[in-house]
């Protein structure tokens, strides 16, 4: 028995090790997903083989021996029918619970994530770090640190896919989608667009560089010095005249934005909404849909006046207002 288990595990590890069969696993969630994958593979093989061998066994044993042969009539067997209805149901229920809870774990970013912004565009990936560094079709991330990506598209639907991390999410125009991962292995990994997006869809790929935190810091500061996203955001904020209504002390015609990020706000419609990236974006592009209680619906839309990158910079600025206030409160 022990020998069998040992043989089994050796065999399994061989299968797992074989480079051609298993993609590199370089994130904190990859192992969990792979375990589920292996169990599913086992279930698939088990039932396929079981059914195939039963069929072959019957075909040989009960092959037609004479042309006028009349086999006995089929007998109904209710317990058997119930068994093979109920057992698959239980297996499916188990798989559903396992897969879904794994999915919850994998979808919820830890609160202290580094945030990076991604804009998909036919046919390239624009990436901007909060520190201001920009990349195209390359993403540098530190190892062992949770990274949250906030993504949107300038044109059609794309999909940000890093096989080695087992993460994937559609990047949708007009909306933010987010994705997080924590890389566990220094290395270079594929980045694919996994949602068909037009002529050069297959060329919309890039590389993810996982670096040690120290290397990452060096990399961040080594490039051409650039303005941080929140600084650029602040400039846009003032240029568009946002500051005339959104005054920090709340005396303007619009609500003060200081400390607004991360709060729950009451809307005129009676709804409660968390002020997150999606909310701020909606407030800029379609202000009328998120009018706050006690405020008049007077904000004009900025649709068409600023691009997705500038929206992200504005968001970075609004978020920085939140942390500034938290800091000043702390003092």
């Amino acid at each position: 028995m022990i020998g069998l288990v040992k043989f089994g595990s050796t065999f399994l590890s061989l299968v797992i090790q074989a480079p051609q069969l298993r993609p590199e696993a370089a994130s904190s969630i990859a192992e969990g997903v792979d375990h589920l994958y292996f169990v599913l593979t086992f279930i698939t093989l088990f039932f396929t083989i079981a059914i195939f061998s039963t069929i072959f066994f019957f075909m040989v044993k009960y092959r037609r021996r004479a042309e006028n042969e009349v086999p006995p009539d089929t007998e109904e067997n209710l317990p058997l029918e119930l068994a093979w209805t109920i057992i698959p149901t239980l297996i499916c229920a188990g798989l559903f619970l396992w897969a879904s809870s794994l999915y919850f774990e994998n979808s919820r970013p830890p609160s202290a994530s580094t945030e990076i912004f991604v804009i998909g565009k036919q046919w390239m990936w624009h990436i901007q770090h909060p520190e201001g560094v920009r990349e195209i079709n390359e993403l540098h991330v530190p190892e062992g640190v949770p990274v949250k990506l906030t993504m949107t598209s300038e044109d059609v639907i794309h999909d940000f896919y890093i096989p080695a991390f087992r993460v994937k999410k559609d990047v949708i125009p007009g909306r933010y989608s987010s994705l997080w991962f924590q890389a566990t292995k220094v290395g270079t990994y594929h980045l694919f667009c996994a949602q068909y997006c037009g002529a050069d869809h297959a060329e919309m790929l890039g590389w993810v560089y996982v670096m040690s935190p120290a290397d990452y810091e060096t990399w961040l500061s080594s490039g051409t010095p650039s303005e941080t996203m929140e600084k650029t955001g602040e400039k846009i904020f003032n240029k568009l005249g946002c500051s005339s209504c959104h005054q920090p002390d709340g005396t303007g015609r619009g609500p003060s934005l200081a400390g607004d990020y991360g709060k729950e706000e009451d809307l005129k419609s009676g709804e409660k909404r968390l002020v997150d990236e999606a909310f701020i974006r909606q407030a800029i592009i379609n202000p009328n849909s998120v009018v706050l209680k006690n405020y008049p619906p007077i904000m004009p839309t900025f649709r068409g006046q600023i691009n997705e990158e500038q929206v992200l910079q504005l968001i970075a600025y609004v978020k920085s207002l939140a942390s500034e206030e938290r800091n000043s409160n702390g003092k």
Binding site: N286, P287, S289, P297, I298, P300, T301
Partner: protein
């Protein structure tokens, strides 16, 4: 299709008897109406979603429609449903003249509906620049909600347009039926085409019964509604 001489007029060879043929025809029409329900259903589902997303804009759009025309047309269609039902009843009791009369009344009411729809409503909307894709003008007084008023009018024209197409097809069918009825093709034993077309006509009426509140009465019409 071969018609056996021994069989009554209107009988098709693949059936065993008239009763089976009549039931098949009626069931066939019901099945067809199910597909119609799902056809409009996709449109209604989209409408419900966008209405939830852009309620203020939809209310502005709705208030630009004239309730009196909507209500009038509802009454006209209900009337045509009544005359359609009465036409079938006349066939059941074997009154040829009444059949023709009721069918023609149904057609007149149906045509009146389309006339009101096109001249008093669509044409008016066009002059008011409310047709998306054909010079729609977003008015400043709508404020920020104005951006999605065209969406409401998209649905308004899709839904009423699709409904109008069904009405026009219905009028075509009614024309054929009137001629058949005039020639005395229907009798208490055989009136399947009338009955089946009646189902279609009533279905088109039901679609309008829902379109009326969904398009004309969103968010109420009382003073201050939607503001």
């Amino acid at each position: 299709m071969a018609v056996h001489n021994a069989h009554p007029p209107g009988f098709a060879h693949q059936f065993e008897d008239m009763e089976q043929q009549r039931e098949a025809g009626s069931l066939g029409m019901w099945v067809f109406l199910l597909t119609e329900l799902m056809f409009f259903g996709g449109l209604f589902a989209s409408y419900i979603i966008y209405r939830a997303l852009y309620l203020p804009s939809f209310e502005i759009g709705s208030h630009l429609l004239e309730v009196k025309f909507g209500a009038l047309n509802t009454a006209v269609l209900i009337g045509s449903s009544l005359t359609m039902a009465l036409a079938i009843r006349s066939a059941q009791v074997g009154r040829r003249g009444a059949q023709v009369g009721f069918l023609i009344t149904t057609m007149i009411l149906g045509a009146a509906f389309l006339f009101f729809k096109f001249t008093f409503e669509w044409h008016h909307d066009y002059l008011e620049h409310l047709v998306p894709g054909f010079g729609f003008v977003i008015r400043p007084e709508w404020g920020a909600a104005g951006a999605h008023v065209p969406m409401f009018f998209c649905f308004y024209f899709f839904m009423t347009g699709l409904h109008a197409i069904h009405m026009i097809i219905g009028l075509g069918i009614l024309t054929v039926l009137t001629i058949m009825a005039h020639r005395g093709r229907f009798n208490p034993q055989y009136y399947s085409p009338l009955e089946v077309s009646g189902l279609y006509w009533h279905f088109v009426d039901i679609v309008w019964i829902f379109l009326f509140p969904l398009l004309y009465l969103i968010g109420g019409r009382y003073m201050g509604a939607g503001h």
